[in-house]
Symmetry: D2
Subunit: 341 residues, 4 copies
């Protein structure tokens, strides 16, 4: 069986990196995690210790130089993604990279060109595509359970905004958060976005307003095939992590709800209530994170196309940029205004 | 159209009598309510005024003597039901009578014999058979949606016990409350009860225990066709009126839930909640009360069988008596022990 | 009690007129329906016969000339609304008028001026405000259950489009159907619309496209207080009448679901299913139609403000006109562009 | 970290044994699985290969003789449980044993005495206690969310009966299947059973009837503290695995529903439906199986009491035996009739 294991290294031992380390070491038999690199050596070391990784180092170039390493997982800050992809491609490594690819299209195009030239695989971390609920929606579309898709509505809200320091470098709501929803809309409607219209505000959120970002947004997407998607975002849903989708088709509709820690309904003199949904993405999307890695490992080992391509990563950034311009200029913005397509 | 109207009188202007008066005067075109009788003249008068009834009187014999009156609704206390049915039958009036028919089988048999002799119609007020939810369960059985019925579970709980004074004359939990569930089980399983086993307690309900009644009960019914029904009763469900049914069949199951005043779900930091179900029988079963009268009026005018017969009323009392004996003697009691069948 | 009854006449004996006739004669004690007028005398006559209305006639001017009539219900085609309101006001009658007030603002302004001069009351038939579910949302806002309102999403879909002949004169999706949702958004957010952006298509609906209308629409409203509402419309939801609302506030959210004919859940080898929601507006909004008339009668008799004013009727038309222009010119349209506010 | 790992061996490499092997090797860091024994050497070998277990053998005595092994998991057929526990205890090994302990109390008493003498720990595999849903019910009781427990209803149904060959040696419905529900009732009501009444039938299940077993059962338990539990069992719920609980307390009630593979609701012209619940115990209770092992490992390593004791295992068998006698003799059977308590 050893012969079939993909040898990978992890770059970035933060929250999401450690989640991947856990899945790689316990859930996915066909992979071996050889090393972890993090500019903060303590982080790399503690990650290595916790997950029994043989080697750790502060410099990602070390793992890129290791001929044993066949693929790397890029879980470092967004500002480093494009450069790391490029270098990894030059080193002949396959790459799994967290979203967003980058905050500007030029850096992305350069990275994708390097991947192309090197002939390596690149998968982007749009994990929600692997969630059982959203897959069920996609399946309903593919199997014709709801006929021709017509209108999509995505509700995507976080329980609370990230710290202001993160907000400042996040790229803004659309690049940081809505980007998942842009990808979801493309995934479910199986068409390309033609035009974006965004409205947003920061009512009740002075801290977010102060860094020039918005807290609540409604984005409307018009697709090439004529369908429409609306997205309702919030940085602060006081009741928790709200992740739902509803798709109207010509023969029916399908809606997926939040996921709850238990099914208990409690009735007392005050009403009928249940506990809040799973609190945030680590809990809500746990399985999907494992499934996306599984798919990446299989795509590399079996030499099949990755399920989420660099192209997918690029387009979601382009839509986010168009949404930003729409908000700024207060008009619907064609996608071709911000990117060649 | 006048020629087709059934002329009725109401005996008993209490809570349930007034509800019927309202339905007769606003919801059912084929009926005319001529008179109301109540031993308490003030009650009769206020009822007459509120619903525009031409005549009111303190003595039910007056309405029985009125040749214009074709049918009476008996809404007086349970202790008078059997006698009133008998007298009404002698007077040639059709009768709609509230449940239970009486607290003992001898009085019932005498009343049913009088009805038989007079050739009038008698319908018992098991209104729940007319509720849209329970009818849907029955329809599922009839249309084979769940295959052969196998096991039934009825949840039937009141929000709070009636006053102790009422409890004393109520006949006890089984005759007063469970009687509806006994009828429902027969209605849904379309078979006859062979044997009854009852367990009950009055935990936390000293007042109920003091009058010799029980507050919470689990009754198991074995039917002639082999199926089993379990009933879960409570005099005090702190969260309100709880009225549900679940039927397992060989090809599927059907469950009906409580009915709510609205569909609102509120999510906040404490959980996801909805308002309590409709609080009690007047609200929960409002439509079914109108529908049972409608059915009675049609059965008389069109000379068709009534949907809930005196026989149905008698059997439910017999099951209640068997449940009482089972509780007392702590053993399963065959129905034939308490009544010829 | 007679002294307290409002004497009304009905103008228009079509589907909605007859529904009002039924409610007026059976559900609302403080009103008396004296006459019904319909250009089609047969319609007037059959309506009068069915609901026991003393007088019927082909010419609405007859009922306007009747000094006994204190108020009229205008249920004739939309094209006659404004003129009828004006004439009724001249005749000193209070008016209840179905929506929309008219298809152009000039006619509306003239009608409202006549009402103003005559000092009569005018209520518009936005019945959904009286629905128990939407009232519960409004109540949650008023009682602070969800904090400060931030984002509203309305789903409003019909089971099937009206006949093409009707579509031609309907004024289009926004004036005919979305107008209810515009009013609902104002009702729930308690603010005024500043700007409208509309996207729409007629995928799979060649008949609707042929008359120049759209079948599916997503409308985004920006309110003066900064909040945002999105509306998802469809002329054809294959699964039936879909009427839901979801409101996000700073302290929580509230969502109302469709209303079902029963609560039954059937589980079999194919899945867990329930029957479709109530099929269309007559069933779904039955109670709200009675409640709006009740409110109108009380407002007149007790000389209190009507709950839905001519102003409300005018603004919803203005929003619809702005939505039309937005769709045509493909840009967000400020409401002040189409109407003085 | 090595010092803290419990060294265990697995006896029995069937379906449940392999599930435990998977959890031990991937989910529980504080354990090391040294060996697997199965009378069928091929089973032992394939299990060892799949989960990377160093040693496998056909004879459990080999692992009991291994001084490195500190604890064993008994996953062999029920008929061997008691003897294996006894021998393992003699060998000084802690034991985790699948349910039921045995089919007769004498064998159990002997095994428990051996455990007592040896001073080792014994945990029984009532995994459902570790399910998030049932734990939530227990938590509600412990935290007083529903006040004093009064009435419990357990629905516990399998999607289809096991093969007839298994049915013959299963010990019958009560010992094989209801035994989980007996334990659940004790777990949730935190009291002991005083008396058992059972009704059952095999309608539509000639194969089950032929081996002398029953297919559908309703069992009523009376507890020492006065509370009542009813259990509704079926060997064949055509719609899948049905595992629910509902507990009425003096201040409220709590109900837990089935668990579904996704949250999707599909609406089309036929109704509103969702996919079936998770199909069987491997899927439905996956997490709870991992959690019970986790708890066992911690109890041994940290020398704390096991959460499910041999006593718990013994009582559930006693209740099952009382249920069998109740069914046979058609009367409520006190638990003390079948076992000293």
């Amino acid at each position: 069986m050893t012969a079939e294991q993909l040898k990978v290294a992890l770059i970035g031992a933060g929250r999401i990196g450690r989640l991947h380390a856990r899945h790689l070491t316990t859930r996915i038999p066909r992979v071996r995690l050889l090393a972890v690199a993090d500019a903060c050596l303590e982080a790399a070391e503690s990650c290595a210790r916790e997950y029994g990784i043989a080697r750790y180092c502060p410099d990602y170039r070390e793992v890129l130089a290791d001929p044993q390493v066949e693929a790397v997982l890029v879980c470092s800050p967004t500002s480093t993604h494009a450069r790391l992809i490029e270098e990894a491609a030059h080193a002949g490594k396959h790459v799994f990279c967290e979203k967003p690819l980058a905050l500007d299209l030029q850096a992305i195009d350069q990275a994708l060109a390097a991947v192309e030239r090197a002939g390596v695989k690149l998968q982007i971390g749009f994990n929600r595509r692997f969630d059982a609920n959203f897959r069920r929606v996609r399946q309903a579309v593919e199997q014709g359970e709801i006929g021709l898709p017509l209108m999509l509505h995505i509700t995507s809200r976080d329980p609370a905004p990230p710290p202001v320091d993160y907000l400042r470098v996040s790229g803004g709501l659309f690049l940081d958060m809505t980007i998942h929803d842009f990808d979801m809309a493309r995934f479910l409607l199986a068409s390309e976005v033609e035009e974006v219209f965004a409205l947003a505000h920061s009512l009740n959120e002075p801290e977010i307003a102060m860094v020039g970002d918005v807290a609540h947004a409604a984005v409307t997407l018009r697709f090439v095939n004529g369908t429409i998607a609306t997205i309702s975002n919030s940085r602060r849903a006081s009741y928790g992590y709200d992740q739902r989708v509803e798709l109207l088709g010509s023969e029916g509709s399908i809606a997926v709800d939040n996921v709850y820690p238990n099914t208990a309904l409690i009735s007392d003199r005050h009403g009928v209530r249940r506990d809040l949904p799973l609190p945030f993405f680590m809990e809500r999307y746990g399985e999907s994170f494992a499934a996306e890695l599984q798919a990446f490992v299989e795509a590399v080992l079996d030499n099949r196309p990755v399920p989420v391509s660099g192209h997918d990563g690029r387009i979601s950034v382009a839509i986010a940029l168009a949404a930003q311009r729409s908000l700024l200029e207060h008009r619907p913005v064609p996608l071709r205004e911000v990117a060649w397509m």
